[in-house]
């Protein structure tokens, strides 16, 4: 809704971000807590086990949870500090509404709810149901993700629901569905430990999934060779056996050339290819001209290194290939994923011990959240909203007529574009901060300013919600019971440690009341989270992501259950494809031809430098949570422009100089950090900050045609030295998103 209601300074003064610290003597009760609650970290897809210390209904500290099998007490700095949110001074405690010229003021739940419902009805009556959109996020539990999907289709009755996984795992999901007919990593992390060769492509594991690092090292202790594909020497790349410093955008050229080498040397599993796959010939035809000289030119990686990687991969008996956003955030993200899968299928190393493949899911519930229906094209159990049988099954579970179920809607970025065009007039968001996390965010801001009504559900006032008409104070991870599904497909239990403070409510209670007021209360008659999960079990039954056999009791007893788990007596499926029966229509794993394409924006005389973005270890995604935790902010206070000394020299840039980075979409100033740990033709900026320090002012909004993921990882920029040194004031206030 319109521009900010008052100055950004005054909004920040009241709602932060402010840096929260633990008092020197610890929070009251940390040494004699009322209880220790076993749950999980609220951040990444590892979902490390952790125990929260609770005193007087407040989270006051943590204690490692040694028995949880994945992390056995290990945590990253975000995990150690995650407990600082429930007690945080910025925590939203009451519904607040926009007051022009003043900012925000407290309002009652009654007023907030009735206003929201009347605005939804007004907009939908005038402009049609799809003119009110919903954007969701996968920090939400499975129960809440499922409920959001149902809420949008049954209560809000809009087709336009999508989620922030659209910025995360959708390229991998689309690729996996094409190749395997199912979207989940094939093996558990345990299988990593004995893989002979590990390729990790576009995944800064040690900063974004720090606790997974231990598994990589265990494999190396057992003799594994580690190959890292990354334009930067990240902490995990530093000690790798082979680092392939790919030019951003060159991934599928690398994997295509490797496939050709496998074929040329007959490093193939013919039995597997002949009996369990299809499309091999078309795939190798597509790469027949991709020789080493061509690959070196396209990828910027020395030919000898590509040859070495292919040879190690080709000759290995066991292997694991992992990738993440580095290869997926592209306008050819799905192609990049498929080109990796082709390497796995050509060597037949899947469905066996120590032979695995998968994406490393980024968000806390990036896996479960992408299975149960808050994507624009999807219904629970990873069903297809355009498939008549799937629609009928879910309509029956929901007790609605299939004809009343909306169809496929717009994806997240397309929703913003439709708002910008004036087609969507109203928006409800939960757990999504698009003004920081979407590309070309000056465009996103323009779109927000066109909304007639915007209501946000969140526990902090994030940068996007500053533009809202109304903010409903929802719940933190530790304030509501539920389940999440980790990056390895393990469904784990999130236990409620405390109740939401003051007038804040559980997210699910907010959705239920809105549904009631929208006349769909009978479809949301849940008394506890387990009721929702039990309905989700039925809704997922028979789908590829089948949770039917998973119960809360079973999860707690086994410290997690791996889906698919089709019946209550089924133990779950830690390792997929042991029967070689893939979930595609023909039951085979599919090779897919991947002809190389250039990124949507390549460097030219005007914009001569490649720009890429990513993360740092102390921050998480749009920073709405981690930019409020003092020590995490202090560890890396402002985004730095990583630049190679040779490129810096060319522009006369010295370490610590302020440099304007300009693209066709915007410009921003960052201090230069001159390091040899990046390609000479590429600069890197982390994206966790909003306002003037936001890297996403510069990134490009081109979408992958299949997955609709934006091309965050490559665009073209100019570098303009300002001649000034970095400013202490900017460094000290960057976390607040001015």
């Amino acid at each position: 809704m319109a521009k900010l209601p008052t100055s950004v300074d005054s909004i920040i003064e009241q709602y932060g971000p402010h840096k929260g610290y633990t008092p020197k003597e610890g929070f009251h009760g940390v040494h004699d807590p009322d209880k220790l609650v076993k749950t999980h970290c609220c951040f990444c897809g590892m979902q490390c086990g952790i125990q929260l210390k609770v005193k007087d209904n407040k989270v006051v500290g943590f204690e490692p949870w040694m028995e949880f099998p994945f992390n056995e007490g290990r945590l990253c700095p975000k995990g150690v500090q995650r407990y600082l949110q429930n007690n945080h001074p910025d925590r939203l405690l009451h519904p607040i509404r926009r007051v022009e010229g003043k900012g925000f003021e407290q309002t009652s739940w009654e007023e907030a709810m009735s206003k929201t419902v009347s605005e939804i009805q007004r907009i939908q009556n005038i402009h049609g149901r799809d003119a009110f959109a919903m954007l969701s996020g996968v920090s939400l539990t499975n129960e809440k993700s499922y409920m959001v999907g149902k809420f949008a289709r049954v209560a809000l009755k809009t087709a336009n629901l999508d989620y922030n996984g659209r910025l995360c795992m959708v390229s991998a999901g689309a690729g996996n569905k094409k190749a395997f007919g199912l979207d989940r990593i094939s093996n558990t992390w345990e299988d990593l430990k004995h893989a002979e060769v590990i390729i990790i492509a576009g995944t800064n594991i040690s900063e974004t999934f720090p606790t997974l690092t231990h598994y990589i090292w265990q494999a190396r202790d057992n003799g594994a060779k580690l190959i890292v594909v990354d334009p930067r020497v990240t902490p995990i790349a530093r000690t790798a056996d082979l680092h392939l410093p790919v030019r951003p955008g060159g991934d599928s050229a690398l994997f295509g050339a490797m496939l050709k080498i496998l074929v040329d040397n007959d490093w193939l599993d013919h039995d597997f290819i002949d009996n369990y796959t299809s499309g091999f010939q078309e795939s190798i035809d597509a790469v027949k001209d991709y020789d080493l000289a061509w690959a070196e030119e396209k990828t910027g990686i020395p030919a000898a290194k590509i040859q070495q990687a292919a040879e190690w991969w080709g000759k290995a008996k066991t292997s694991f290939l992992l990738h993440a956003r580095g290869i997926e955030h592209h306008s050819k993200g799905v192609d990049n994923v498929l080109s990796c899968i082709n390497l796995v299928l050509a060597t037949g190393r899947i469905g066996r011990p120590y032979c695995g493949y998968g994406t490393i899911t980024g968000q806390g519930n990036g896996q479960g959240g992408r299975e149960h229906g808050h994507k624009c094209d999807q219904l629970p159990g990873n069903r297809d909203i355009t498939n008549p049988e799937h629609r009928k099954y879910i309509a029956d579970v929901w007790g609605i007529d299939e004809k009343d179920m909306p169809g496929k809607g717009l994806s997240a970025y397309e929703i913003i574009e439709a708002i910008h065009r004036g087609e969507i007039k109203g928006l409800i968001t939960i757990c999504f901060n698009p003004l920081v996390s979407l590309p070309n965010n000056n465009f996103v801001r323009e779109a927000l300013e066109k909304l007639e009504y915007y209501v946000a559900i969140d526990f902090f006032l994030n940068e996007t919600a500053r533009h809202a008409d109304l903010i409903l104070p929802g719940s933190l991870h530790e304030e509501e019971e539920g389940t999440v599904t980790t990056a390895e497909g393990r469904v784990v239990k999130i236990n409620q440690a405390v109740t939401p403070p003051s007038e804040a409510r559980k997210d699910s209670d907010i959705l239920i009341e809105l549904a009631q007021r929208l006349g769909a209360g009978d479809k949301f008659a849940y008394f506890k989270a387990e009721d929702v999960f039990n309905e989700l079990r039925v809704a997922s039954k028979g789908g590829t992501a089948d949770y039917f056999g998973i119960t809360y009791e079973k999860i707690e007893k086994n410290m997690g259950i791996f889906w698919p788990c089709p019946s209550e007596d089924h133990p779950g499926t830690p390792r997929l494809w042991e029967d070689k029966k893939f979930r595609t229509p023909d039951g085979k794993a599919h090779f897919n031809p991947v002809p190389y394409r250039e990124p949507s924006e390549v460097v030219d005389k005007e914009y001569p430098v490649v720009m890429t973005t990513g993360r740092v270890v102390s921050q998480y995604l749009s920073g709405s949570q981690t930019r409020r935790i003092g020590k995490l902010v202090d560890q890396y206070p402002e985004p730095l422009l990583e630049i190679h000394p040779k490129l810096a020299y060319q522009y006369g840039i010295k370490d610590g100089d302020q440099v304007t980075v300009k693209t066709r979409r915007g410009e921003a100033i960052f201090p230069a950090q001159i390091v040899e740990t990046i390609r000479e033709d590429t600069v890197f900026i982390p994206y966790h900050w909003g306002g003037k320090q936001s890297a996403n002012q510069l990134t490009i909004g081109t979408l992958d045609p299949v997955s609709k993921i934006p091309e965050f990882k490559v665009c073209a920029c100019q570098l303009i030295p300002t001649g000034k040194m970095a400013s202490v004031k900017i460094k000290e206030t960057a976390y607040q998103s001015f």
Partner: protein, 190 residues
């Protein structure tokens, strides 16, 4: 100080090649009630301009601790398990002798408190059969707490070393540094 749960076989091992510079150890260390939100372990870049390599600085718990030897107030003591304890608050006079004497540059003087503070190997946790907080949370297990037998089995490509040579001076420590296989000592100065 005798505690039946304190396992004397347990040792502390640091493997710099595994350190990912995440600072989880510092943040976890600071949580300890006696540390007042200050960490007793420190992570530094070696030279960020050329590498992301980080290094771990923490008390090495010397067999013959120079810090204790030079303390004029007898504030620093080593216990029967080889743990060199942080300065006794009632004795420490804040003279900084230990700060200057430590060959590893570990003790820090808390200027506000006029008190030396350093790692005591999480005595509260280790004496109760737990691991020190830093080694518990370390996500890459660059910090490992366990027996020598365990680490030799788990990490066959490295050897723990606890003998350091500073010129002619030999320092043996309770804390081990993981070195390339077959190493027996670490020479700091020729």
């Amino acid at each position: 100080m005798q505690n039946p749960q304190y396992n004397q076989q347990m040792e502390f091992f640091i493997d710099m090649q595994r350190c990912i510079g995440c600072h989880a150890c510092e943040m976890a260390c600071a949580e300890c009630e006696t540390n007042g939100q200050e960490s007793m372990i420190h992570i530094h870049y070696v030279e960020r301009a050329v590498s992301v390599q980080t290094t771990v600085q923490v008390c090495m718990h010397c067999e013959d601790p120079v810090c204790a030897n030079v303390c004029p107030a007898d504030a620093i003591t080593k216990d029967d398990f080889g743990v060199v304890h942080t300065a006794n608050t009632s004795r420490c006079i804040g003279c900084s002798n230990c700060v200057l004497a430590c060959p590893f540059g570990v003790p820090k003087k808390e200027e506000k408190a006029e008190l030396m503070m350093k790692c005591n190997m999480c005595y509260d946790r280790t004496s109760a059969g737990k691991k020190p907080m830093c080694a518990t949370v370390c996500p890459s297990q660059a910090l490992f707490y366990g027996t020598r037998e365990e680490i030799e089995k788990l990490r066959p490509n490295s050897t723990p070393v606890n003998k350091f040579l500073f010129g002619q001076e030999q320092v043996n420590t309770k804390v081990n540094i993981m070195m390339p296989k077959g190493s027996t000592e670490l020479r700091i100065h020729e």
